[in-house]
Symmetry: C2
Subunit: 526 residues, 2 copies
């Protein structure tokens, strides 16, 4: 038996090391890991190779959500390391969110050795089957010879516009057998250019004199796209509206303000009322987040025409520039975000005063992760004149993203303060990710809105016509028996925190947390 087949590291490097070196050479510099036995050669290779930061997570949803947050802020993929089918399964909900946010991401999923699969050992599952619903690209490595090229193809897939989830399944023998060294990443295709016909059609709609909405998503909703869209709007009288949830908006003082399509179905329908043309720029057609009895799926009014200027896959900025030219738009104007709110000195602790306090206190350069749900419905409007900052949302609607997302954003941007605005019910899905913040000394403030309920569902129960819920239904939407002690949980995971029940205690705690470097949790009892 050769040294290579009995698993010791030898020259030439094994498949695992070839893969790790390929990832590093391809610009993948962080691995959010939750490894198991089948990944031990990959772990050993991570150990030997410089250039890959390994961030340990206690649960796979923490790893995939962190990779999403990293990708949104770094504009490039991180990797994850997951343990066979069940480990991947635990990461799928946040992969779903990453897919909807169009975040580039490379999953490495360990698998039994190729020859071992046939014996249906206890952890054997259909990993490709599990990966496919949440991945744009899935491949199972067949040999150590090819695994570096597989990894390079995964990077290419992840980086292909608009950003994709790529999942490479790594059988243990493709990791431990001799590899071939670094494989180069094949060229990543440029974003496609939007059709001239689409630009012309959008320009005609804007010239029609009828009400037009520019619906922005993906890259078009970030700073640069919004500035061009604003030039078009000023020239033509069109209005701008962002999607309900957006992967990343750079906003605050000096940026073009934008509202979002409201989440509640009736408000969403009302927001689109009267428009005759909706021009989609990186956005998808406005549809109900859910179906409701007696409500339409499509939110646009009847007779309204939808024009796709640029899909999320296409170059939205370039398309907006052509459209600006076609309508003869003027230069960018100084955006009016209004006046930065005053710190509210007194009053009740409610959504408005909290929003105003956030508006006053968000520091320049902050990254806001927003999984506030019901509590935060006003926060977006109340922070439009804050110091310049970046806002990340829950695109896929699968709750349990905030703590992981803020973890990954902080890894990507160590020099920026990360503030996670966290609904309590949602935060409990991936609460373990707090530990990674403590372990990595990440500069994240988690603010938990502790209403001790699935408040969003109380509204939804009424929306579907169940107007008089009984004790069993109310019980299933309540988290108050027993009440969860969030500060206790935070301390259990190794970070400090404070519980607040008044407005002044909240603003004190937030100011303290913003002054102090490192992870901190504020439980806001509502």
């Amino acid at each position: 038996m050769s040294e290579a087949t009995n698993g010791t590291a030898t020259a030439p490097m094994n498949g695992a090391e070839s893969l790790v070196r390929t990832l590093v050479a391809g610009g993948v510099e962080v691995c959010f890991t939750n490894p198991g036995t089948s990944e031990m050669h990959f772990v050993a290779a991570l150990d030997r190779v410089d250039g890959m930061r390994c961030v340990l997570c206690l649960f796979e949803g923490g790893a995939t959500g962190a990779a999403d947050g990293y990708a949104r802020m770094a504009d490039k993929p991180a990797s994850t390391l997951l343990h066979l089918g069940p480990g991947l399964a635990n990461g799928l909900a946040n992969l779903h969110n990453a897919r909807r946010a169009r975040s580039p991401l490379v999953n490495i999923v360990g698998e039994h050795a190729t020859y071992h699969r046939q014996y249906d050992a206890p952890l054997t599952t259909d990993i490709e089957g599990l990966a496919r619903p949440m991945s744009a690209w899935v491949r199972t490595g067949l040999s150590a010879d090819a695994i570096a090229a597989d990894g390079a193809a995964a990077i290419q897939a992840a980086r292909t516009a608009p950003g994709q989830v790529a999942t490479l399944i790594l059988p243990a023998d493709t990791a431990w057998n001799p590899g071939t060294g670094i494989a180069p990443v094949p060229p990543v295709p440029e974003r496609a250019r939007a059709d001239d016909a689409a630009v012309a059609e959008a320009a005609r709609a804007l010239a029609s004199g009828e009400p037009v909405l520019l619906h922005l998503g993906d890259r078009a909703v970030r700073g640069e796209g919004r500035t061009i869209a604003d030039r078009i709007a000023r020239k033509t009288g069109a209005r701008l509206l962002a999607m309900t949830a957006n992967a990343r908006i750079d906003r605050g003082a000096g940026t073009v303000p934008i509202e979002r399509l409201p989440y509640p179905i009736d408000q969403g329908i009302a927001a689109l009322k009267g428009y005759r043309h909706i021009i989609l720029v990186g956005a998808t057609e406005p549809v109900g987040f859910f179906a409701y009895p007696g409500r339409p799926s499509l939110l646009a009014p009847e007779g309204c025409r939808t024009i796709t200027l640029a899909t999320p896959e296409e170059d939205q900025i370039e398309a907006l520039e052509r459209l600006a030219e076609a309508v003869n738009a003027g230069p960018a104007a100084a955006p009016d975000t209004g006046r930065r709110p005053e710190l509210p000195g007194s009053g009740p602790l409610d959504q408005d005063t909290i929003g105003a306090a956030l508006g006053a206190l968000i520091p320049e350069g902050a990254v806001i992760c927003d999984e506030s749900l019901t509590t935060g419905r006003n926060f977006f409007a109340l922070t439009r004149a804050s110091a310049p900052h970046t806002w990340l949302q829950l695109n896929g609607g699968s709750i349990g993203l905030g703590i992981p997302l803020s973890t990954g954003a902080a890894v990507a941007c160590p020099e920026r303060k990360v503030i996670n605005l966290q609904a309590d019910g949602s935060g409990l899905y991936t609460v373990q990710a707090l530990w990674t913040q403590a372990r990595e000394r990440l500069d994240v403030v988690t603010v938990v809105w502790s209403n001790r309920a699935y408040a969003i569902l109380r509204g939804e129960l009424a929306n579907v016509g169940a107007l008089n819920p009984g004790p069993k239904a109310i019980g299933m939407l309540s988290l108050d028996d027993p009440a969860i002690d969030w500060v206790g949980l935070a301390r259990g995971f190794g970070l400090d925190g404070r519980r607040v029940e008044t407005l002044s205690a909240f603003t004190d705690a937030l100011q303290h947390a913003l002054r102090t470097r490192g992870p901190y949790l504020i439980e806001v009892v509502l």
Copy 2:
């Protein structure tokens, strides 16, 4: 618009209520729930219908793992209520464990209304694709008319031997449109009878004079099967061995003692050395839990013949009875489990003294959930003479089962003390399930082995040949920076607990917890 289509509850009952009443009439009396918007009509129906206990979980892995624990102890399915694809995804790892334990289980997974799916709303996913790898039966409801019959078919599938995971996907309009009332559950097929040829072949092997192993799993390893197997063994000189992990073994004083196939690969190979025949009774062929360089996948020695007396699907008890008759086995003898261990009075706090303390203190009728992993390797042997009790293990190898499993076992058996022996790294995957224990006042003692490491992986890293791990590899297997405060976490979730660092403190705490009704957590610092 009729009242039914705008969602108010009317006569005739809607699809959701038809389904809930079908489940209750079919003997499904518990629903472990983590609902969302698309499940609101089902929640409203649960509210209206008597006979279904609703147990709220903070995370879907808690719901599916609890349904597994319930099924093992109640020998019938519970239901779960999960929210679309991502909610199902969060429950998949413990569905994998349930599948491997052959637990009957009915998942109800909410889905967008049938007409809404085409719009690819944010939470839209391929739910069937996600369900299939972990389910024996998957169906998407097509109409409210048929949804009760779909539910009845799901119960039939779940109850089909050896016990299966059935997943019914419930589009919102099949819940809110008018239903048809209760559907009867079609007849559940009897367990198939094992082949006469298999019995004859096993009898020949037992008469050969060569070493024979009776390898027991599924029903054959419970009390009754073990008693018959013991009669065969006494007559023929064969030895009994259970699988490495078993869904349920009723054991302790007065039952036939049995050892298990060891988990570590070399010990597993050694345990099978010398056998010429292995007779499988409800067990699957012994294979390595993982592949290791230079080690075989099949653990039986070369030349050893494997005979399947009865598969897990077949009637193992009846097959054992026929085999006993064929070898002319004598009557059952009083089993010798040895003497119940003394409570160790002094000594270090280590695996042996802990095992001895458990052996002395396990109360009669206790249900032990064992996710001890490395810490608990000796516990099985040291508790063979304890008071009669039931032992549940991690069949699928996907860690994060213990807290949910013990939750479900306690729901099934309110009169029995449940003791969850929990490795710390594993417990952190589904730690939220502690809250459900507090909410439901379940009589569960969780004993956490706090070694602050993925200790099992340290051994595995060496097993694959990485003998000198560096700081990055060691860091990825360590949970000590920061150390997790398990008692703090427990209190955060609303239950009491105690940290112990000495043997006497451990035995005191365990005795206290066994005397006190309700959930309690003991953190054992190792």
